[in-house]
Point group: C2
């Protein structure tokens, strides 16, 4: 398989935008028409409609594991169905798992999400607290299987200041910049023909100043930018994560796409239209902001 | 349900030791007799034998999610079976999941592992990098459902020095001590009658000096000590995590208990005996070291 970074750059070029639709199954928020007695069926059906609506529009979807796991085994079956349905429609899949552990345990997580077995996504998110040696098994899996990694660097929540923003004596800079430097270093081993690395980072849309610095520390990283929309980040804020070539980042929205349809009694067609319209609006805002950012 | 910390203290008293048997399913390492064509069956059967062998001996088991997830849906079904089988045998279950995320996503993980639905463990491990607000939904779930939390503070791997050991300008001390202070603070909200909190910490057995400092920063926390045995920590090292009352920590071993049986052609009875013998040896070493540590 081609390196993930090249597949991502190509998909962004083909679709003409860097937008990611987040898939956060919350059955209580879903339209009435989709609800059946089975959580697996309900979630899988809901996502099939969403995927049909967005497959022609965006390059990537991002299922969030937590929302599947909360439904137990039926939820995890729906995760498997959703990943398969997305890939069948030509979409790249980032498993938003925020996993991590050490040595053989990290290898097991890489096998779960980044091999061709088990859940078989194109990329996953991981947490960095355990240190560089905890990231290595994931990097190895990315090299072997053409998969991608997004390491949490600076998250979009207020609490990201508690530990991530702490200034280190050794560098005089915040912790998150040290982690970004590690991402850049690890990423050199997994560069694609596009010049981008398959080892990327998560940088929240709510801190554009920090994002500009992080962009310069990790020039080759693909940055996953959550926090656009419902979490308070604007398209202009997200644009700070892009390089001058208009590439190097993808921007994610979840609730603003799939749960912004109003009344739960909405029809299937109206729901699909709502998802499509919300996605088109996001694409317009994000591409305009990135263009303006590059021009400025 | 009684607070997790009280249930843990009581279980340690009843069994007379603070040992945790880690359950890391790796089918390739299992005895031939247990292997069937189904990963779910193989893992579930393997763990039933292990659980029957250790249920009368130790207070807690710790299934490691990564090793289940690597087998996809059959692995997750085996996780569900294993948790149920452990609880039926009166064992406490710590889901070693190292999850975390923000706001409603953290709530979803708490629902997955700390409510009475989905996977229904007694406690889980979480990662702290996202900040204090990412831990709050888990703390709330612990309060509501009598469950417990173990926050990664100082892990047993060499790479734990990369970020965890960084000295912060604001405190002049390592990052992991700030996280320990947050664990202590959050833990005050979930104190049991035993004086211990249901908000605990993970502190690797490989750094006894650091463990003594952490014990004093978090006097009320239940500390989960991995890294005993296969990862190089000794029982004496692990003893540094205990309070003078001989309580306040549990020590975990995985491979040294379940995969130290020698030849894969071993019989079912001989395998069960090996698990029992390895567990008894661990109990002897750990209880002696804790007693010596308290006496010194």
């Amino acid at each position: 398989m081609h390196p993930f970074s090249d597949r991502l750059v190509e998909a962004v070029r083909v679709k003409g935008n860097p937008c990611v639709v987040g898939l956060d199954p919350r059955i209580s928020l879903m339209p009435v028409f989709v609800k059946s007695s089975s959580a697996e069926q309900t979630i899988s059906d809901f996502h099939e409609i969403v995927l049909d609506a967005v497959a022609g529009l965006v390059p990537v979807v991002k299922p969030q594991l937590a929302f599947f796991e909360q439904y137990g085994i039926p939820g995890m079956k729906a995760f498997e169905n959703t990943v398969r349905a997305a890939r069948e429609r030509g979409l790249l899949v980032i498993a938003d798992a925020k996993r991590n552990d050490i040595s053989s345990t990290a290898e097991a997580y890489a096998t779960a999400f980044l091999s061709d077995g088990a859940f078989d996504a194109d990329a996953m998110t991981v947490a960095p607290y355990l240190g560089r040696d905890s990231l290595t098994p994931f990097v190895t899996a990315c090299k072997q299987h053409g998969k991608g990694l997004f390491v949490l660097v600076k998250t979009s929540n207020p609490g990201s200041k508690d530990f991530q923003d702490q200034i280190l004596q050794s560098t005089g800079r915040p912790l998150y910049q040290s982690i970004a430097a590690s991402v850049d270093e690890l990423g050199k081993e997994v560069l694609g023909a596009s010049g981008y690395s398959s080892i990327g980072a998560v940088v929240g849309a709510t801190f554009p100043e920090e994002a500009r610095t992080l962009r310069s520390i990790m020039p080759r990283a693909c940055i996953l930018v959550p926090g656009y929309g419902a979490q308070g980040g604007s398209a202009q804020d997200a644009a700070a994560c892009f390089n001058d070539d208009g590439l190097g980042a993808v921007v994610s929205s979840s609730r603003g796409i799939t749960y912004a349809f109003g009344n739960a009694d909405i029809s299937r067609d109206a729901f699909a239209r709502s998802v499509r319209d919300n996605t088109l609006r996001m694409i317009e805002e994000v591409t305009a902001a990135v263009k303006a950012g590059v021009a400025s």
